[in-house]
């Protein structure tokens, strides 16, 4: 009996976890981890709630499009190049470091940068990169990355989508999300 209840508890835990993986975005304001920042996300999209490094969302599935917001402490090295960032890193240098790290990811070796320009994210000077890549099946994707070196870490806001139809359709929603980035709940 005791064994059965243990199994039941385990099953309930698994169910609870799986139920909590996704949530539909019904009201726009979403908080980052520890409420370190807030963004206005597109209503109707789906947020991956088990993603604890930041905010990740999609509308039609991650293989189609995704938006991702992270604020990572400078001390935590970039995943592939193992490079650290710093608060006084010039924006262009931060962009180069992040792109080099992205190119180390499987399937992103052919990432081609179309444009890198200065940009503002909230009160911070940063960059905006537009890039393209093809996945292993030859499907073209476009990507926009905003980034800035903040005192508390590197802020990255990323949007990628299948080039055809999806990228242009959802780009305004992403640009709106970037504009809404803030450290206090109220816009």
């Amino acid at each position: 009996m005791k064994r059965l209840s243990l199994w039941a508890a385990l099953a309930a835990a698994v169910l609870a976890t799986s139920c909590a993986m996704w949530t539909r975005i019904d009201s726009p304001t979403i908080a980052g981890p520890s409420e370190a920042y807030f963004v206005d996300a597109p209503v109707g999209w789906v947020q991956l709630t088990m993603y604890t490094d930041g905010i990740r969302m999609t509308r039609d599935g991650f293989s189609v499009q995704l938006m991702d917001v992270t604020l990572t402490p400078h001390g935590k090295e970039l995943a592939r190049t193992k490079k650290a960032t710093s608060a006084n890193m010039p924006a262009q240098e931060l962009a180069e470091a992040l792109l080099a790290d992205l190119r180390g990811q499987p399937g992103l070796g052919n990432l081609t940068v179309k444009e890198t320009v200065p940009a503002r994210i909230g009160p911070y000077n940063g960059f905006r990169v537009q890039a393209q890549f093809r996945n292993e099946r030859g499907v073209a994707f476009s990507m926009v990355i905003y980034g800035a070196a903040l005192p508390q870490g590197r802020l990255v806001l990323l949007y990628q989508a299948i080039d055809r139809h999806f990228f242009a359709r959802d780009l305004p929603a992403f640009e709106g999300l970037v504009k809404s980035w803030r450290t206090k709940r109220a816009a």
Binding site: E96, G104, T116, F127
Partner: protein, 390 residues
Amino acid sequence: MGLRTGAAGMALALCAGAAVAQGTVPPFADAAATKQRGSDEERAWFEAADFDRALRRSGALRGDRELDAYLQQLLDGLFPEFQGAVRVQAVRDPVMNAFALPNGSLYVNLGLIARMENEAQLASVLGHEAAHFVHRHSFQQRTTAKDSAGFALVIGVVTGGVGALVANVVALNAIYGYSRDFEREADRIGFERVARLGYDAAAGARTFELLAEEAKILKVERPVFFASHPQLEERIASFKELAAARKLQGGELGAEAFLARTAKARAEWPPLELSRGKAESLAHVLSDPQRRARYPAGDYWLGEAYRLRAQPDDDDRAAGAYARMIEREPDFAPAYRGLGVVRMKQDRAEEAAQLFKRYLALAPQAPDAGFIRQYLADIEPEDTSTGESK
């Protein structure tokens, strides 16, 4: 790491099998003979052709006809009886690597071409790779291990860039290359072909020395080119023994022709290397003044490598390299930008501002001019009308 350990175990098993099978399949005699293939080998060729297409689709091929023609000319010189059956192309990948497919497609990475010093070294690489094809090593190894899931078609070791593509198609050989015996056989065949054309007999050993040196400095556990069988030191020794056994000394280097025909590859490699975050390897290659002299704007790229490597004292090293570049070519705008960024990070704002202004004067339309203006606004806030600061 788990994958690597597993793959290593699998590779060991494959090597044992491959040694047994070695010599059971005769090498191709010439281009015509490559057309006679059994169904198993036909399948390997089909899969290789599939990989060829994937590589083309990925945009990884460099598409430089002049360079490809030069590589092909060298290869045809080494294996004249295989003209038309072995094809070689340059790949836009900064990793020092080359690999061959069972259908006679050879690929040489830009990172390898750019690091070579002369034609004799490049010929050694091509000779080795073509020998794998002519002696049907891939097919033999595949036959031995055809029951192993995910057995690879591609030889050599590919990581990052093309590697990601390869990993999806062919798992093991893409990481660990051929069996030790096959590698040795390819060394011997390649060496004989290179020596027959009168190239420097020491070129093969020097090629591996370059790799071993870089692997040691960068603490690479498993260097990527002609990977683990035999280990690099052993293979350097093997090439030296081959030269000693044939009592060969010296020979043609073909340095001039090589430098002229691969100039574009050397110009393209430093930014490609940095775009993959490989500042350390670029700094290693360019810190040698003799090697640096072969690269256009070598001092500038060394400065960039130090700046982006960002180890202790690298800012000073970078500043020295940029200053040398400016002394050599006072109108070379990017060196002012690089030095300006270093000075800005060192809180030498006034100097940085002068350098940024010089950069903008020389290259007002530069794609990154917006960033430089932003930096200027940061370090000279009184000059800005917005009053915004970071």
